[in-house]
Symmetry: C2
Subunit: 314 residues, 2 copies
């Protein structure tokens, strides 16, 4: 893979995505080659045109002769299962381009599993040599937040139709957004949404600038991604944000914080597996589990007894 073999990259991604044996070795060996890619996240509610925007951004980056890795993540359960398939179709224009590598990732069973797997796939693409890695997620839920926090720059895409709920989601959006895009900006309500976002952004900026690692007032841009309108401006703003991060020394700090969080998740996952295995080997603890399952013992008391026994051996 490090020699530029796309097929090898695809195979490694599959290994990592399915958490197959050897993941630790793979990630260890790519570690020295990490940190060159800029990771751009695109999120927003369903129907905001995220895939189209990612497609147009990819086309612009290709016009600059950059190669691009794209990860379309769909962490959703039954109710939005169609997104992955749709992404693949929408990105068709680039599937024959050897300098664009597109990968869809869907729900993993385990807690934190998808965010961790996405982080590893980002690293594989980074190590492969893509200067840009684009992550798209259907923007709902904790898992998506964990995914989007792995981006260096995050574009939150809204549409005029999402206007009525912006009020409620504003606080959370301000935390994740580095750039706001109002897509489908030819529709009714686009101007009002932009004005509202600009007002909120400015208030938020004034109140939080001293607490931030960079001096950055979130720009609010209009776009019509399907017609390639406003896409050049978005890319320029992404690059602007990247420079601002670098100049403030914030890019390194953010990546450090991210690696710390990633270590914590992996550690907890690994421990959880070992604890459950230890419990299931011990007949006395199996009896505790059965009592909880049978409803004669509450879960908190069960946990207490299990911990008392497992930790007795100090």
């Amino acid at each position: 893979m490090l020699a530029g073999d796309r097929l090898a990259l695809a195979r490694l991604i599959t290994r990592v995505e399915n958490r197959m044996p050897g993941v630790a070795e793979i990630m260890r060996s790519v570690q020295p080659r990490l940190g060159r890619a800029h990771v751009l996240g695109v999120t927003g509610p369903p129907g905001a045109g995220k895939s189209t925007l990612v497609d147009r951004l990819t086309a612009r980056l290709r016009a600059e002769r950059s190669s691009v890795g794209v990860i379309a993540v769909d962490p959703s359960s039954p109710f939005t299962g169609g997104a992955v398939l749709g992404d693949r179709i929408r990105m068709q224009a680039h599937t024959l381009d050897p300098d664009v590598f597109i990968r869809s990732m869907a729900t993993r069973g385990s807690l934190g599993g998808l965010a961790a797997a996405t982080g590893d796939v980002i690293k594989l693409m980074d190590a492969f040599g893509f200067p840009w890695v684009l992550i798209e997620t259907v923007g709902v839920g904790q898992t998506e937040l964990d995914i989007i926090r792995q981006a260096d720059t995050t574009v939150v895409t809204l549409v005029p139709e999402s206007g009525d709920s912006v009020q409620a989601m504003k606080a959370g959006l301000m935390e994740v957004a580095d750039i706001f895009v109002v897509n489908k900006a030819d529709r009714d309500g686009a101007h009002a949404l932009m004005a509202e976002l600009r007002f909120s952004v400015h208030l938020h900026y004034s109140s939080s600038v001293s607490a931030k690692d960079i001096d950055w007032e979130i720009p609010v841009l209009a776009a019509q991604a399907t017609n390639d309108v406003g896409v050049a401006e978005i890319l320029a703003e992404v690059k602007h944000h990247r420079r601002a991060l670098e100049e403030a020394g914030a890019l390194g700090k953010r990546r450090q914080a991210r690696r710390r969080a990633e270590l914590r998740t992996l550690l907890v996952e690994e421990f959880a597996g070992r604890v459950m295995a230890a419990v299931e080997r011990d007949p006395e603890l199996v009896a505790v589990i059965d009592a909880v399952a049978g409803g004669t013992l509450d879960a908190y008391s069960g946990v207490e007894r299990i911990l008392a026994r497992l930790l007795r051996q100090p």
Copy 2:
């Protein structure tokens, strides 16, 4: 609370929801009073009219002189943050009824935290004596699945507009649904959606009946919840499902499996907290964390070193 004091119930729920000290004691003391409530889950995509349906079902149960506990859970991040507020407004008709207790719950920070907290709130309502506990969730994501799995009977609500994505979500929906409701059934496409669901349900039933704990072909019902059309039929079907569960001995088995899963989640959470505390107290392990944060060591190697040190004391 056990004497029927609603204010005491509300205070206990707040304690449990915020994971304040004393949760274990509270849950221990209500344990002997559990298992009488039937837990009815209502889920589906945003905009399917779940809150209205819950409101109408509550009215019907009240007409039968049953008291009702309602939990509106919104596990979503920034993008759907408006649901909780909306629920409160929609349920206003019942807020003055002393035999209806409505509680909204929103995102918790910790992994698995919201599902666990919801489970505990269900128990408090059960112990308080509500024969019916209704849970409504915005149906997207892993957390919602963990929440809805705590219901004895689950109603999946769809609308004709969700038709185009039913294809993709079908497999997952069949796993959670005990009853399908096509709401807003006066709209275009309702008949087609019902026909499609019935066909899928029947195929699924034929292929999986031997593996199921009850012999139940998921009914597909039409409704217009805003006009109270079809709601009586839904409630009748819920009761029918409950009887089927009881007669097959499946209700007890499902609850056992649920308590087992709940214990596992609590145990893993508790261990995670202790492991992280142990790591942060140990300067050598703090050095490992710093190496991972600094990018000189990969996360998998970091986990390996931490485990080797923590587990050396056997």
